[in-house]
C-alpha cells in the first residue's frame, strides 16, 4: 500500500551507492523484504521504473527475497518459522507455551546491487 515512499527511499540509497562507486548503469537491486511487510512486488517495480527515469538506475530490476516470519517461544527459547495467517493462533511446537515473540519478518533491507 505504501510502495511509493518505500520506492523513493530505495532509489535514494541506490543512487548514493552508484555515484560513490562510479557506476555507469544499475542492472539489478537485491532486496530483502519480510513476509509481514505489505508490499506488492509488481507495484514496487512499476513505481521504481517511473521514479528512476533519467537516473543511473533506470531500467534496473528489483529482485525481492521474501524473508520468513520467525518466532521464538519465551518459555523454552525454541525458534521456528510461521506464516502470517497463523499468527493469531500460535502455540510453541516444542513446549506448547503461548508466550511467543516475533524475532524477524518485518525486514526492509537492500542487500546489494548488480552494476556495470
Amino acid at each position: 500500500m505504501h510502495e511509493l515512499p518505500v520506492t523513493e527511499s530505495i532509489l535514494k540509497i541506490v543512487i548514493k551507492h552508484a555515484e560513490k562507486n562510479n557506476v555507469r548503469q544499475v542492472v539489478a537491486i537485491n532486496l530483502q523484504i519480510g513476509k509481514l511487510s505489505d508490499l506488492e512486488d509488481e507495484w514496487i517495480q512499476r513505481y521504481f521504473d517511473y521514479l528512476s527515469k533519467g537516473t543511473l538506475a533506470e531500467g534496473a530490476r528489483l529482485k525481492i527475497e521474501r524473508m520468513p516470519i520467525m518466532m521464538q517461544c519465551s518459555n523454552c527459547s525454541t525458534s521456528y518459522e510461521t506464516e502470517a495467517s497463523n499468527l493469531g493462533e500460535l502455540v510453541c511446537p516444542a513446549c506448547g507455551g503461548k508466550n511467543i515473540a516475533l524475532v524477524s519478518g518485518r525486514e526492509y533491507y537492500i542487500k546489494d546491487m548488480e552494476v556495470q
Binding site: 505504501h2 509481514l36 533491507y109 537492500i110 546489494d112 548488480e114 552494476v115
Partner: protein, 224 residues
C-alpha cells in the same frame, strides 16, 4: 558489454524514518511531553475517542492533538472547539504518517506547555503499523462491527500496540462478535498488550482508558 559486478549496499530502506522517529522521541522526552499514536480503520471511532478523552482529562492534563485525516479539517475543528491545541496535517491521500510529517505537526503545537500529544493517524490497519511516528505509546481501536477476526488479517498492527481499545461494545448484543476469541488471538500476537472494552456512545469503559492514560503520563514524566 561491460561486465556486471556486485556492490554491497547493506542498508535499511526505512532507516531515515527510524532516525527521525528517534529524534522526535528524544525531543519530546526533554519537554516531558508524551506522544501517543492512535490508529484504527476508518470509522472505528478515533475522533470520538479523542473527544471523550479530552472531556475526561482536560482539567487534569494539558492535551494537544495532531490530526491526519485525509483532505479534511473537520476533525481538527471538532477538537479545537473543546479548547484544545490541535493541528491538522494534510496527508493528501497518503496511507500513513511518517516521523517527518509528525515533526511538522509538533512544530505547530506549543509543545512545552503540553503533557500529552495524541496523533490521530490515517484510518488504515496496514501502513501505519510499519512506520514509526516517534510516539512513546501506540494505541489502536478495533470496533465491534469490524469483527473478531481482524488480528488474523492485520497481525502486524496488533503486535506493535501497547493498548487495544475495543470500541462500540454497545453493538455486542446485535452481533456474533466473540470477545474471548478476540482476546485469545490478540494475546497470542502480543502477550503484553492491555485490552480495554469501551463505548464512546454510552461512555462505558472510558474511565478505564483515561485512568490508563493518566498513569502512563505520570510514569513518563517521572522517567529520565
Amino acid at each position: 558489454m561491460d561486465e556486471v559486478r556486485l556492490i554491497e549496499v547493506k542498508e535499511e530502506i526505512l532507516a531515515d524514518n527510524v532516525k527521525v522517529a528517534a529524534e522526535v522521541r528524544e525531543r519530546l522526552r526533554k519537554t516531558k511531553t508524551m506522544l501517543l499514536n492512535l490508529m484504527s480503520s476508518p470509522g472505528s471511532g478515533k475522533t470520538s475517542l479523542i473527544l471523550q478523552t479530552i472531556a475526561k482529562l482536560k482539567d487534569n492534563l494539558r492535551l494537544g492533538v495532531i490530526e491526519a485525516d485525509i483532505e479534511s479539517k473537520v476533525d481538527a475543528e471538532k477538537v479545537a472547539a473543546q479548547g484544545i491545541s490541535a493541528v491538522q496535517l494534510r496527508t493528501g491521500g497518503f496511507c500513513h504518517l511518517d516521523a517527518t510529517m509528525v515533526t511538522q505537526g509538533i512544530e505547530a503545537l506549543p509543545v512545552k506547555d503540553l503533557d500529552i500529544i495524541i496523533i490521530e493517524n490515517v484510518g488504515n490497519l496496514v501502513c501505519p503499523a510499519e512506520f514509526d511516528t516517534g510516539a512513546h505509546k501506540n494505541v489502536m481501536i478495533l470496533s465491534v462491527p469490524e469483527g473478531d477476526d481482524k488480528p488474523l488479517k492485520y497481525p502486524l498492527m496488533f503486535s506493535i500496540c501497547d493498548v487495544l481499545l475495543v470500541n462500540k461494545i454497545d453493538y455486542l448484543s446485535l452481533s456474533n462478535f466473540d470477545m474471548s476469541a478476540l482476546r485469545k488471538r490478540v494475546l497470542a500476537l502480543n502477550p503484553g498488550i492491555t485490552i480495554i472494552e469501551v463505548s464512546c456512545v454510552t461512555g462505558s469503559g472510558i474511565e478505564d482508558w483515561t485512568n490508563w492514560l493518566k498513569r502512563e503520563v505520570d510514569i513518563f514524566k517521572q522517567s529520565k
